[in-house]
Amino acid sequence: MYVAVKGGEAAITSAHELLAEARRGDPAEPELSLAQIGGQLTLAVDRVMTEGSVYDRELAALAIKQARGDLVEAVFLLRAYRTTLPRLVASLPLDTSAMLVRRRISAVFKDLPGGQVLGPTFDYTHRLLDFDLARPDGQRPPANEPEPPATTDDQPVAPMARVADILGREGLLQPETEADPCAEVGDITRDPLTYPAGRDVRLQSLARADEGFLLALGYSTQRGFGKNHPFAGEIRMGEVEVQIVPEELGFAVSIGSLTLTECEMVNQFKGGKSLPPQFTRGYGLSFGESERKAMSMALVDRALRCRELGESPGAPAQDEEFVLSHADSVEASGFVQHLKLPHYVDFQAELVMVRDMRRKFESRETSGEENGSERETALRG
């Protein structure tokens, strides 16, 4: 006699054991330390912090280790941890113009005060596999290109004026609306997102959004699906101080600093009935050195401002509900992968119906053919 399948609990326990084994890999190799991940897989850590929306390199490194390097899974782990944290205080808005800049480039001016600072970038590397890196540190031949002169590490860099402010002074760039000091900034982790969304919660969603999704959407605007003529006005990366005003003190104190990447896209805008021709902007901000993310975010932010700027929406990247509802990797990954859960009750219902419909189709097919030949005869006659 058939006995229904049972034993889920034992199966799950075994799966977890296998997972732990697979994560550890060959026990003959030394285990990865969090310091190694945090110090050498820095961009993976940055991405996980950004999308996990927790600025903590050690936790992000742990999440990456635990997730076997699956960054979307690591983001998930970090988010699930974040949600348990108390929210103690809201910081003052960050002043990115006071950033201690390690990288700063502008594509719209050849030169500007503070100069173009390349910093640690892949940009002008030739993507040729460097087989020397396959060998451990000590056994590598010395690099034949001269080391670039040291920059920011030992010399403090004066705060650099932001390109947006330089353009803004001439009125060429649409000013960001002054924040209403009394208005609460929305928080998508406390309140559900509703549409139309304000720019505050929209930017929050984009900051947490999956990099790949934003990259593809940003790319689509460049290729004509919601074109808005972007220029990289400025991309800057470096350290920014976080300040809070404790209630008992009544003045601002610094509680530390964050590494951030900020991108301001400058977009062509022809003006409208009530607006003069000027440039508008899209804004992107990410933790660490997540530059691709910050740029994609800025493109999509600008695309989503289409209604506010009187452009007629139509492209996927301009559809706020489409973008914001599908941008979160934790939500998307969860729902796509939920298809692995048993669905056999629903499937059974479908089976019954499709079988029934096929029977009807087949019987109509047989009688339909006869009708057809009758019709032909009639036409010929």
Binding site: E311, S312, G314
Partner: protein
């Protein structure tokens, strides 16, 4: 007053458009079976029937948006005589659609560029035909907005800022600016409220008469058909069940289906 009361244009040559044995099915579902008719220059042909009767399929085949499974649509191309429009090369087909014909969609958004001004919408076909003078383009656009009763102050506005009725009139202007000989209309008054419909119908009647346009208009609304059409074709299940002069068909319907249609709708 009915459309039939105005003087019918006298055809001096042959018909403008001939449909013969048009048949189309979608999968196992027949949509059109052996439809034939002639359309004469300056004539307005109404195609009526309920949804699913095949009238929209017919229109799409006539306008070359769809190819028939069997049958043929011929058009009297000046200096070339009757040509099989479905056999034309893509370039010629587009030329036909651009300069000889027009197509008015039920939803004006399908027939307009919503992200450019009304003036550019009206001027586009002229630009496609080679007009390269901004001042002249603008003047023609303004003239045509006037003909469809849209004030010159709206020339530079986006169609999105127009009401539904205005959008439809703009679409008509965009189609008529190249003075086509034949215009297809798919429920041009559908989706508009009654007072707006009446104004649009009046306007269409006037323009059709002024320009001597031939029109094939598809509608489920017999009142629209009575006002605009010289001749009617009643369709049901992909076949023409009755046709004739509009007043004749509506006042003295012969086919039981037409009788049903008339009695159910036209008791005003």
């Amino acid at each position: 007053m009915s459309a039939a009361a105005r003087a019918l244009p006298v055809p001096d040559a042959g018909p403008l458009l001939c449909a013969r044995g048009l048949t189309k099915s979608f999968g196992a579902q027949p949509a059109l079976e052996g439809v034939s008719f002639d359309l004469w220059p300056g004539e307005v042909l109404g195609v009526v029937g309920e949804s699913g009767s095949g009238k929209t399929t017919l229109l799409n085949i006539l306008a070359t948006h769809l190819a028939p499974d069997a049958g043929r649509v011929s058009y009297d191309w000046p200096e070339r005589g009757l040509v099989d429009v479905h056999a034309l090369a893509e370039a010629e087909k587009r030329r036909l659609l651009r300069s000889h014909w027009g197509f008015v969609h039920q939803n004006p958004r399908d027939g307009l560029r919503m992200n450019v001004s009304a003036g550019a919408n009206v001027g586009e076909k002229l630009m496609a035909l080679g007009l390269r003078h901004y001042g002249k383009l603008r003047a023609r656009a303004e003239e045509w907005l006037g003909k469809v009763e849209i004030g010159p102050e709206r020339l530079d506005d986006l169609p999105a800022t127009y009401s539904g009725g205005m959008q439809q009139r703009l679409q008509i202007a965009r189609n008529l600016v190249t003075e086509p000989r034949l215009v297809f209309m798919d429920e041009p008054t559908g989706g508009l409220d009654v007072s707006v419909q009446a104004r649009l119908l009046d306007l269409l009647r006037k323009l059709v008469a002024e320009l001597g346009l031939a029109v094939v208009i598809v509608t489920h609304d017999l009142a629209v058909a009575r006002l605009l059409a010289d001749r009617l074709m009643v369709m049901r299940c992909g076949r023409v069940v009755e046709s004739g002069l509009t007043d004749q068909v509506l006042d003295d319907p012969h086919h039981p289906y037409t009788q049903l249609l008339v009695s159910s709708i036209l008791q005003a």
